[in-house]
Structure formats: C-alpha cells, structure tokens
Symmetry: C2
Amino acid sequence: MRSKSQVQPSSARSSGHEETAAEARRLIRAGAHDGHTAGMAPDYVQGNLVVLPAAMAADFASYCQRNPKPCPLLAASKPGDPRLPTLGDDLDIRTDVPRYRVFRDGQAVDEPTDITSLWRDDFVAFVLGCSFSFEQTLLGDGVPLRHIAAGTNVPMYRTNIDTNPAGPFRGKMVVSMRPFRAADAIRAIQITSRFDVAHGAPVHIGDPALIGISDLGRPDEGDSVEVRDDEIPVFWACGVTPQVAIEQARPPVCITHKPGCMVITDLRSSAVAGPDD
Amino acid sequence: MRSKSQVQPSSARSSGHEETAAEARRLIRAGAHDGHTAGMAPDYVQGNLVVLPAAMAADFASYCQRNPKPCPLLAASKPGDPRLPTLGDDLDIRTDVPRYRVFRDGQAVDEPTDITSLWRDDFVAFVLGCSFSFEQTLLGDGVPLRHIAAGTNVPMYRTNIDTNPAGPFRGKMVVSMRPFRAADAIRAIQITSRFDVAHGAPVHIGDPALIGISDLGRPDEGDSVEVRDDEIPVFWACGVTPQVAIEQARPPVCITHKPGCMVITDLRSSAVAGPDD
C-alpha cells in the first residue's frame, strides 16, 4: 500500500495536473494511501476529525464554539450519517481518512484505516480546521517553515492556557510552534489572521515560559526544530487540543484521525481565507 | 496663545462635540494653538510636512515612492501652490501647521508658527502619513500605549536599516518603538497592517540589536519608556526618517513641521484604513 501511495499522487503532480480533493479521497478510500496527507491536494482545506456518540455531541459542539482558535468547526454530521456534504459531495467519513485513532474511555486503543465496521447510528462526526491550510499560503508567499524544510512534524506543546470548558470537555490548550526571523513573523501574523477556519492568528510570540513551556527542545508531540538566535518562536493554537479534552472527558468511545492523516475537503483554501491585507 | 489653545479644543470636546479637522485648522490658522496636535480632531488623519524647492521635488517624490513605510505620501502640492485640496478644501500649508521647522543647508535654524513670509513660488509641499492615525485605532481597540498613558513622546531610534536612496536623499531608517505583551503585539500587527498610509505593519519585533539599536533606554528622539519582562518591543518605520534624508541631502532651504505639530487633514482614519481582518 505504501509504495502505491507514493507513486500515484507524485505522478499526478509531475504530469502538471494539480490533484483535486476528490481524487485524493478516492485514492484513500481505495486503500491506496494510508499515510499523512501533507502536500496532498494542496489547494484544498484539510481538517481534524472527532467522532463521538450523539449523547456527547452537544457538549463537544459547545466546546468548539467556546474555543474557536484551537477548534475551528468546519462541519458536523447528522447523528448516524457518515456524510458531510458541505465538505465534499462524495465524502464518507468512515473510509476517506487514511488512518484513524480509536479511543475507549479516553485511551487510544487502535489505529485502523477504515471505521465502517465500528460506525454506529448515533455517531456524530466533527471536522475542525487545521494549520495545513495556512502553511501552504505561507510557503507560497516565501515565508520559510523549518519543519517542512526538514521533513519533520511541527513541534507541539501543552501550555498553561486553560480552554473554556463545556460539559465534560476541558483542559489546557496545545500549541504548535514555528520559528521565524522578525520580518517573517510579522508576515506570518498578517497571513494567518485571514485564516479563522485554520486556527487564525498566533496566540503567543516570544518567551515560551510565559505560556508554561519550559523547554522548546522537548515538544509534547511532533519533532523539535532549531530556533536560531535571530529568530522568534511563534505559537498557534493546535488541533491536538480537542484530543486533550477527550482524554479529560473519557467518552466510552471516540474516533479521531491519526495526527497528520487528515480529512481532505472540497473547500479551497483561497475561498475560506479572509480578505487580503 | 498657549492658554487659548488649551481652552478651545477641550471645551469643544467636553461639550460632546467631536472636533473636526476643519475646526482644528481654523484654530491653528488663527494663532490660537501652536503646540502638538496629539488628540486634536481624533478621527482624522494627521501628516508629516516636508516643503522643498521644485528643483529637488522630483527626487524627494522618488524617495517617498521607494520608501513607502517611513514615507507614505498622502499628497504633494503643485509648485508654488500652498493648497492641498485633496487633504482639505481650505487647507493652506503656510498657516495651518501649529509650528514649523526651517532648515538651511540641512541645519535647523528656526521654528516659526507661520511660513507665509518664507513661501516661494517654486516650493512644493509634501504631506506624509503619521502614526497618530493607527494609535487612535489601537487605543479604541483596547491595546494600551505606554507613552500615551505616561503623557510622553514615543521613543524613536536610528537603525542600521538603509533606506532606498533617490538622488541626494538617503540615510538610515528611523523607527518608533512601543512595548506590548504578546497578545497585544499580535493585535497591533493586525491593526497597523490595515494602515498603509500610516507606516503600515511593524518593520521589526523583538531583539533591538538586530536592527542596530544598542540601548532601548536611550532613544535618539522622544522619551524612553519601560519595557517589562513579559513584553516585546515592536518597531514601526517613523516619519522622522525623511528628516535624516534631508540632513544628508542638504537642500539650500527646506521647511518641515516641528515634530508632533502635524498637518491635520480632512481624511478620516476609518476611510484610509484597509479592510478589517
């Protein structure tokens, strides 16, 4: 499967054809790609997935609404309905994510590539915006991203910033960090301010200790990146935050994407961005 | 004159009437106000003034065009014409600035309140945007400005950043500095990005040494302000930059405003700002 997943998207790209979201989903649905989705269908919005029983869905929707920076809600399905037509006509949330993570009582227990056999008629699927949307725009604008240049995952940290609780969902905000020289940091703030659906503007810049991060070299998730003497660390609210809230809420069952293996939607990044400055 | 200048604008304000630019100019023209213009006609754009002989005007216009952040050109007069109708129907640049500064061969020699007797039929007046425009918006949005809270002038520094030369006009960029906590620094970057006519987004944030400032406590112009441990210094291109370029160019005669004593225009700050984020 892996080798097939490497071949098809790159040949599509080398032929000058820009892969569409529908093509990427078809590939994933067919079992031809089960890895991360960074760089797939690059013009399209990708999202984080959270599937919960309907009994907990109202509280989770409130949690998203009260914490729009870490949890920018793109769409929620009807109970039992695996489709999300506003994100893609053909989108089936049971098959269209490369790899899932299944939680029981707040503990991760499995990482399947398909959740058709686990689906229940009371499940509600939530799709939340993710930083891939703004990273493409930053790169396109000439703002360098070190974790992408290094081919590693962005470093993520649990902060001392409390999210706003809703029902059993609560916990600290998780942030991702990208280092920039000052001029690029300013540009990154300008650009990401336009992407409310993808965590928006940073929540912090500068001294990591002010948000409870003791050592930038030891991220809680992802890989560490160098921060040079002439650079400022810039911190964005991160889509891993709801996974912390799920650990706190301990739902009997919950299914998310595996980090990096996102929902690919038909929304164009350029269409969901706010007006240019 | 001073006492009169203190009374009229404040009584206008205490009566609940928002002073207009035309009213402020009338007061200044009548000799009733010869001090700084901070807080006067607060909804209107204020500008820096540079008056030069026509022989040097084309080079100075190029200098502004090539350095839009320190020198955002709002308007230039026709040679010999003291009016700037796009900035105010009744505006007469010879009488409508509270206090001027006269340079001969690049040296400041006088600070009159009226330049009618000095006006020549080859003079061209340039009006450049100033940070007062965005400061009102920052305050209105709840972003604190320490130099305003302290009632002092903003600190200004000569940097190691070269401006783009044009003819005899050249020199280092001057910046103003305002300290903020991280969340306010992010908001200040977002807001000032909308004000291209008022220096726009910052040119630097963080370590002052990276732009050649050795000691924040010793500004080259204005007054020093405290930068607290949890704050980041944020630097904007400053309208004093052209005065450095004039020192370099040594025009036989040049007239500017006295720093802080600005041209008050009929442009509304809200109208010249770019779209909200």
